[in-house]
């Protein structure tokens, strides 16, 4: 039996790892990011500067990190899951103390020359920590409530801190991403029903503690006409951009909504509206396809992994990726409130690009080390 376990615990050579790298996924990532470059080029009225060029440099740097992460042994990531989580939590806490105020909320900390958004880092480390936790539980334990308390604390601490920043969008992403890990780990469905059932009155309670602008956003979402020139204006203009794009769009760099500055935040949160305006439904669905394939890759990798850590990590990170995508698109289409979630791999921004590429690095690492057996109790 021991022998059997040992035989699975292979140490792969670097060459073998590189050859085994999931090149299809890498190509998809590059393609999706390229759509982003194209849109940033358009946003600058057909100029690579200032946004597309910078985004490309970030992407190149991010890809390098992706490879490093991917080639690192999955067991190292397992071992580092809790320490990373602790560091990210500390950083989040420090935002409270010395965070930089941006967009009316404190979200960044200065780490030497770069500004880091700890809430972004937390999205990865929380999934890692939860994957590791559930990796160490057997099926009976997963089904017992006391065993679920530690991971709930793991969620509650960062979620509370991020909510205080205040960043409703990221909070939701953290909680929902964690929920996916819970679900995939085998937590009974009725428990989810219970939590959701409890969340609704809690939500009403929590509503009172929201900042005015957050309350306003929710109210405006429920009744956009109440604020045609404020937050409702953003949604309205985004819908106009989308709707006026039609089936084939207005053409590259031809979007009137975006180029005449009617579209707010068109480089970041509302970049999809610009895409859909210029490339129409055809372009929008093409992008959906890219995302679909990226997510499908994530699922495939998760299913193929022979260790629970890898499975949960891959499905959790893919889930967060999906949530990014879904919330952003639903937001610009006016299906959910404006919460400030970027379109993954496409929106302009350094931290989110880096975290996403690190996530994919981890997913690829799961793929490379898919056959590595990791004892639940070993680490």
């Amino acid at each position: 039996m021991l022998k059997e376990l040992g035989s699975r615990e292979v140490n792969l050579t670097l060459t073998k790892k590189i050859l085994d790298l999931n090149w299809g996924l890498v190509l998809l990532i590059c393609l999706t990011a390229s759509v982003g470059f194209l849109m940033l080029y358009s946003a600058a009225n057909g100029d690579i500067n200032p946004w597309a060029s910078r985004q490309m440099i970030r992407f190149a740097a991010g890809m390098f990190i992706l490879f490093v992460v991917a080639l690192t042994d999955i067991r190292i990531w397992l071992r580092l899951a809790y320490p990373f989580y602790a560091i990210a939590l500390l950083m989040l806490g420090s935002v409270e103390v010395m965070g930089v105020i941006g967009m009316g909320a404190r979200r960044w900390v200065e780490l030497g020359p770069i500004q880091v958004q700890p809430s972004e880092v937390m999205k990865i480390t929380l999934i890692m920590a939860l994957a590791r936790y559930f990796h160490g539980l057997d099926m009976n334990e997963v089904r017992r409530i006391p065993w679920l308390i530690p991971p709930l604390i793991l969620i509650a601490m960062p979620a509370g801190l991020v909510l205080r920043q205040p960043d409703l969008g990221t909070t939701l992403l953290l909680v929902a991403g964690a929920g996916i890990v819970f679900f995939a780990a085998g937590v009974r469905l009725w428990k989810f029903a219970l939590v959701i059932g409890a969340a609704i009155p809690a939500g009403f309670f929590a509503y009172q503690f929201l900042h005015d602008y957050q309350k306003k956003r929710i109210l405006i979402f429920l009744n956009p006409e109440s604020d045609p020139l404020g937050s409702g204006y953003h949604i309205m203009q985004s819908k106009i951009a989308l709707g006026s794009g039609g089936i084939f769009g207005k053409g590259f760099v031809q979007g009137t909504q975006s180029h005449l500055n009617y579209l707010p935040e068109m480089r970041t949160d509302f970049i999809f509206s610009m895409l859909a305006e210029e490339f129409g439904m055809v372009g929008g669905l093409a992008l959906f396809t890219l995302y679909f394939m990226l997510i499908a890759y994530g699922f495939a990798i998760a299913i193929r992994s022979r260790n629970q850590f890898g499975r949960l990590l891959a499905i959790g990170l893919t889930g967060v990726f999906f949530l990014y995508f879904f919330i952003n698109i639903a937001m610009v289409m006016g299906l959910v409130p404006v919460v400030g979630v970027p379109l993954p791999l496409i929106s302009y921004g350094g931290t989110s690009m880096l975290t996403l590429l690190i996530s994919f690095g981890l997913i690829i690492s799961v793929y490379i080390h898919r056959d590595v057996y990791i004892s639940p109790r070993k680490y």
Partner: protein, 636 residues
């Protein structure tokens, strides 16, 4: 063991992953469906909204119609206004740019601070006015140096210009920015909302504002969310305002203003047949150009505090007792009522008694026995006390009204005053007192309650001179561009007849002739000696301050010895030529003292000038029967 456990875990995971995957796929199809809904089903609606978003209609201010005099000279025109504007986002350092600009042209400290304040308030691409009314030299100097002046732009706009400065300020008025009150009172016109748009604020500019204003053009532009214009999509030019031709003759106006010099005075010259106002003067005046560009507080205060009242148009708003110039009306009232005949004589011993009250004649020693014409010529007060009492105030008032006194003459100007011709019922209603015979005495010599404006006096004179036709004064000659039909262009609506008996009028006019042409006449010194151009007129003195009995006893001070503001107003009304009357004039010199020495020569000179300036009109008059083409020639 762990292997089976792991298998169990893996199976469960796969089931859950499948569930998750289907869930996510389902959510993605919701998004795709929404995409279809927005981009296909609702596409038309949103396309329309997108167009509305980017299309902006901009107004194009029409060119304001010009105001011309009767000879076609521009009294109000539009002038290119060379402006400097600054676009903040195009310069790195506003201060530095302004420094460089002030090396080329003088930029006042005030302007500089104003620009800096504006740059902080307005969006970066909004042009901020730096300087206006640059000379061509300044404009080209900046133009040459424009590469060193980032963010500085030169613009050419239109600005109202009054080339004659103060000559027509009261009549023509001026334009100014639209005020809150204007917005409430005027008919809604999108132009009024246009920043920098100017409307007529007084005079003709105000009265004919709608005609002069024209209609707005529109320019459809593509604009971004901040309102910055990207490009013009289409353009529809508006209608420029109509030109307006006034009856005024620039040359006569210029002469009149010059002639009246430093006095505080008003004069109106009329064509007695058409009612054309050839000149309407109120001095001192102001420069309407400074109102158009924005008047300084100092200048405004100077105008306001000036005792000679440069801001008011004395010709139509100044109400003065007409004094002896009123005597023609009294005489005609008495003659028409049949209470006297032209040969009726009165002895003047220097005063007359009414009960215990003594009513003086201006001539202390008295005039002796006078008939009507003589009493007009010598302006005997006692004669008019007598006939006024005979005819009564109500008859006098009726006659005065026939001559345009005490009523508005519907001139194309705002603010015209109606003056006051008292009646018994007026006194009862307004004063709550009964009319006294003493009041009639005072009214008989144009004092007491009687008030008239210089315009009314000119109209009165014109109606006397034209044989009793109720001509109305007019300022605008042709409201439509003159067509080739010369006859029509000069045709004046036949004025209504007052219905005076020829002989009665003849006696009064004879009296007026003698005022200036008889040695005993009050204004003999102001006569016109040229044959065929003789003038007839009447002097008048409007008492500003009653002379007290004590002063009378101690010997009345000479006008020159009293303070300016206590001196009497000097009036003179006249027409010429006597044989073939054409022009009527009224002159009032506030606190001018002697009517015959101050006002009469002015009236004479104005009439002389009017006759000199209009030789063609005389030709027309002479040739009217012979050749109608001469008429056409004049007006074409």
């Amino acid at each position: 063991m762990s292997n089976t456990r792991d298998k169990e875990k893996s199976r469960l995971f796969n089931r859950r992953a499948l569930l998750l995957g289907s869930g996510q796929a389902a959510l993605m199809s919701v998004l795709a469906g929404r995409l279809y809904y927005l981009q296909v089903m609702q596409s038309d609606e949103y396309t329309m909204m997108a167009d509305e978003n980017r299309m902006n209609i901009r107004l194009l201010a029409p060119l304001r119609g010009r105001i011309l005099d009767r000879t076609g000279q521009e009294i109000a025109s539009n002038r290119q206004n060379f402006r400097v504007v600054l676009v903040r986002e195009q310069t790195e350092n506003v201060e530095k740019t302004l420094d460089r600009l002030s090396d080329l042209v003088e930029v006042s400290e005030d302007d500089r601070l104003k620009v800096l304040k504006e740059t902080r308030r307005k969006r970066g691409f909004v042009p901020i006015p730096v300087m206006e009314n640059l000379t061509w030299e300044e404009f080209s100097r900046i133009n040459v140096h424009s590469p060193e002046l980032p963010g500085i732009h030169l613009e050419v706009g239109e600005k109202r210009h009054y080339p004659y400065n103060h000559l027509f300020s009261h009549t023509v008025g001026y334009v100014g920015a639209v005020s809150e009150r204007d917005l409430r009172n005027l008919e809604p016109d999108p132009l009024l909302e246009l920043p920098g748009f100017r409307i007529g604020k007084s005079g003709i500019e105000k009265f004919y504002d709608m005609k002069l204003r024209g209609t707005a053009g529109t320019s459809r532009v593509e604009a971004n969310a901040y309102g910055r214009v990207i490009r013009e999509l289409s353009r529809q030019e508006g209608e420029p305002g109509e030109d307006l031709e006034l009856t005024i003759d620039v040359r006569l106006q210029d002469y009149a203003v010059e002639r009246m010099g430093e006095e505080s005075a008003a004069a109106v010259v009329l064509d007695i047949h058409s009612g054309d106002i050839l000149s309407m003067v109120s001095v001192p005046s102001f420069n309407p150009n400074s109102f158009t560009t924005g008047i300084s507080v100092k200048e405004w205060e100077g105008l306001r505090s000036n005792p000679k009242n440069p801001l008011s148009n004395k010709a139509i708003t100044g109400q003065y007792p007409p004094g002896s110039t009123f005597k023609m009306v009294v005489a005609l009232a008495a003659l028409e009522a049949g209470v006297i005949s032209p040969d009726y004589k009165v002895f003047c011993g220097g005063h007359t008694m009414l009960g215990k009250h003594k009513f003086h004649c201006w001539k202390r020693g008295g005039h002796g026995k006078l008939n009507l014409a003589e009493s007009i010529a010598q302006s005997c007060d006692v004669y008019f006390y007598d006939i006024a009492r005979k005819v009564g105030i109500d008859k006098i008032a009726e006659m005065a009204n026939h001559f345009g006194l005490g009523e508005k003459l519907d001139l194309d100007l705002y603010g015209e005053k109606r003056g006051l011709i008292p009646t018994t019922s007026w006194k009862q209603a307004v004063r709550g007192e009964r009319w006294q015979v003493g009041d009639t005495f005072n009214a008989g010599i144009g004092q007491g309650y009687v008030l008239t404006t210089p315009l009314q006096l000119a109209v009165m004179t014109a109606r006397l001179a034209n044989g009793g036709k109720k001509v109305l004064p007019r300022l605008v000659r042709h409201q439509a561009p003159i067509q080739n039909d010369g006859e029509k262009a000069v045709a004046v609506q036949e004025a209504e007849e007052i219905g005076l008996s020829k002989s009665a009028l003849q006696h009064v006019l004879r009296g007026m002739f003698e005022v200036v042409n008889d040695k005993k006449g009050t204004a003999f010194g102001a006569r016109i000696d040229e044959d065929g151009r003789e003038m007839a007129g009447k002097s008048g003195t409007a008492q500003v301050r009653r002379i007290s009995k004590k002063e009378r006893l101690t010997g009345v001070l000479k006008a020159e010895e009293r303070p300016w503001e206590e001196r009497d107003h000097a009036l003179f009304v006249a027409y010429a030529p006597y044989d073939n009357p054409k022009y009527a004039v009224s002159v009032i010199v506030e606190h001018g003292g002697s009517a015959s020495k101050v006002a009469a020569p002015m009236a004479r000179d104005l009439l002389m000038e009017a006759m000199k300036l209009d030789p063609i009109a005389q030709t027309r008059e002479n040739d009217a029967e012979k050749d109608s083409s001469a008429v056409r020639g004049r007006d074409a």
